[in-house]
Amino acid sequence: MKIRKKVGAIVSLALVTAMLFSACGSGSTASGSQAQSAAAASTAAKSKDNDMVIAMSESVLSLDPHNLTSTMSISANRSMYECLLTFDKDMKNIVPQLAKSYTVSDDGLVYTFTLQTGVKFTDGTDFNSEAVKANIDRCMDEKNNLKSRRYFAKVKEVKCPDANTVQITLKEPYSVFINKMTNFGIISPKAIKDGVKLNSVAVGTGPYKLKEWDQADHLIVTRNDNYWGTKPGVDSITFKVVPEAGSRIAMLQTGEADMIYPIPPEQIKTIDGTKDIKVESVPSNIVYYVTLNMSHKPFNDVKVRQAMNYAIDKDAFVKAVYGGYGDHATSPMASTTQYYSKQEEYAFNIEKAKELLKEAGYPDGFKTTIWSDNTSDSVKGMQFINQQLAQVGITAEVVPMEGATLNAKINEAKNAAESKIDMWYVNWSPSSGDADGALRSLFYSQMIPPANANTAYYSNPAVDKLLDQGLSETKPDKLTSVYAEAQKTIWNDAPWLFLGQPVVQYGIKNYVSNVYMMADGSIDCAQATLAH
């Protein structure tokens, strides 16, 4: 009895202390931030120095512009390297960078680039046509095993008629070649020749040059004072790796970071407009979807797949998963992708879904599984899908797996018959913003695992033909109709549950200007300026 009393006393004391503690905590948060924002309103926000710090969730994996996979590596790379062409801010149009202009022959085989003059690499080497050729040769050399090699798989020859002209001839037409050139940073030919370790050293023509790189922690670049274009306003940029979202937000609040990305939707309201902070967003080129394995019953029936699309409330999805910051998916690819064409939505309609299921012979629904990785966002998404499908009698067992394990499990099946996957909750963004990149890996019949990510095991000869046609066409109006047709066919076949398209959101201090995020989640800080 005595012991029980003691325990009781201890527990209640603990509870009271905990409550007091949390009450104090939240009280001071509110008053503190109000006071700060009042102070901010009276004086214009200023930075304490001219060095910008960007806190981001992932680390930069490589500095080699020909061997990049992560978006963060791309962001860091674009501060030090430039490409022949680049995307504008909205990722809609391709604009000149190291090439002044370019022409494509009528047969789509010869690309002629006229280069900028008076550009130098940070090691003093001149930028010219030979430099471009040296870079292409480096990529094409099989021994180097670089990721950019595939951009040049169809190249027949590269010629340099004069110092400012590069002529690239292809073996067969490849309409997205131009898009690939926006992702092909040009390295100093001298650095290539000297065998500089390019995965940790950068020698480019960009507005910044490398100061220091600690792979797990930070990358610092300083202004390139010999830059040929408009020089940035800041002295330096530090890309700092801060994996924990709460810590990133704290850094933005204390001023240790001037910009943070990404930012969880549920935190936006608490920081937007406080302490010189604003939260900005741009439409992304990411689509969220669930693949339905069409080689499995009951997903082999188009009525079942369409019924499932009707059973999902997309408004509720955007609210539940993106905290309201996003849109419905209105095509198999995001609205920011080249040649996007809007489709008629599968409007949320339970009755219609039930009717279609009945017609397909599943009046009481069925049992299945849904896979994804084990991040809290993915689990939330899968649970949402399961709840929605439950309304029409479908039970989708939620199976979260660690990312690399999931990847291995999907790819262990050598063909459709061996495949174990039913549904996969996942997202995709094309790395060079083109329609082929958005569709081929996911819908082309030869891209079923283990070749690539067509986990719907979707195979439609008409779509295969359209995608091949997309690569061989050169005229934009023709490409528009080819890709519109492909999107429409896929949409009607419904190999996916088409869900949503989030926005890219980042937190930034009011005193930062000319820093933008692109639809693919990369950062453009070429002209970054701080008021100080």
Binding site: A18, R150, N199, S247, T254, A404, W428, S431, P450, A451
Partner: protein, 307 residues
């Protein structure tokens, strides 16, 4: 004593070999394909296979193990598959922050924990005892992750006294070592309290008191010294816990240490880095246990004479 030490030290060599084998096999047997991860999402099968060859992952597993062992004996820990840097180069700078952090956390938590435990034992049943054990229970129950974020919110964002993370100054060690040490402090307090209470009931304590010795001498010289064996054992085990905790603390406080490197390398299935790190963690654990064993000998003459 010399022979006792030598025997203990030599015993660790076969142990490390067995550990290296287990680590290697486990790491290679967890599902996930580094070649596929490295080649990227758009990669073709041909590219993936070429990457697999470059990484040497197409060889039989046992061959890979002997190659790995051979490299290790030549002092080469391999090359990271993610960054292409040498593993030693990557781990070197990560070691010091984790080590310093664990050290700071251990020192304060041991001192405070043991003091709190002894104090509670002496004050047994009084309100001071309840307060002491309340602190200990809270310490065990509070998740490190949450505590870290709360500390950042209070001391960095609201008060502006300390930085949110990084290891640029001595101040930046304060919050992380505080979060990391709380659990250990709590466990030490609980253990030293119960061990003290047990010893205080022993005959020799009664004898000491009967001799008319001062109460402070009875507590410190007799009861405390005998409690130390148990305290040292538990402290040794706690260091393993500290290393595990460092993974969370380094993530919250943005410290580029071993813990964070381990998480990243597992995500990318960067085999050479995972193996090297696990081996280092095991080595640390083995060394700590060795020290604990040797300390037993110092604290209790019976142990060193028997062996």
């Amino acid at each position: 004593m010399g022979r006792y030490c030598l025997k203990r030290v030599l015993g660790t060599i076969p142990l490390m070999l067995v550990i290296s084998f287990i680590i290697f096999m486990f790491v290679h047997m967890i599902p996930g394909d580094p070649a596929r991860i490295m080649a990227g999402k758009d990669a073709t099968l041909e590219e993936i296979n070429r990457t697999r060859q470059t990484l040497g992952l197409d060889q039989p597993l046992l061959n890979q193990y002997f190659m790995y062992l051979n490299r290790m004996f030549h002092g080469d820990l391999g090359t990271s598959t993610t960054t292409g840097q040498s593993v030693a180069e990557m781990i070197g700078p990560r070691f010091q922050p984790t080590f310093t952090l664990a050290g700071c956390a251990l020192v304060w938590s041991l001192i405070i924990g043991v003091l709190l435990g002894v104090f509670s034992a002496v004050m047994r049943g009084k309100w001071e005892d309840y307060i002491g054990m309340l602190i200990a229970i809270s310490g065990i129950s509070i998740p490190v992750f949450w505590l870290g974020l709360v500390l950042i919110q209070i001391f960095s964002v609201q008060l502006g006294w300390l930085p949110t993370g990084g290891l640029d100054s001595i101040q930046s060690y304060i919050l992380p070592s505080l979060s990391l040490g709380v659990g250990v402090m709590a466990v030490m307090a609980r253990f030293s309290r119960s061990s003290m209470l047990e010893n205080m009931r022993e005959d020799y304590v009664r004898t000491a008191r009967a001799k008319g010795q001062k109460e402070s001498m009875v507590v410190l010289k007799h009861a405390f010294r005998n409690s130390l064996i148990e305290v040292v054992t538990v402290a040794g085990l706690q260091i393993g816990g500290l290393l595990a905790g460092s993974i969370l603390v380094e993530t919250v406080f943005t410290i580029p240490g071993m813990g964070r490197l381990l998480v990243d390398s597992i995500k990318f299935r960067d085999y050479p880095v995972i193996e090297a790190e696990l081996l280092l963690f095991s080595l640390q654990f083995v060394v700590i246990n060795l020290i604990v064993d040797l300390l037993y000998g110092v604290l209790n003459p019976k142990i060193r004479y028997e062996s």
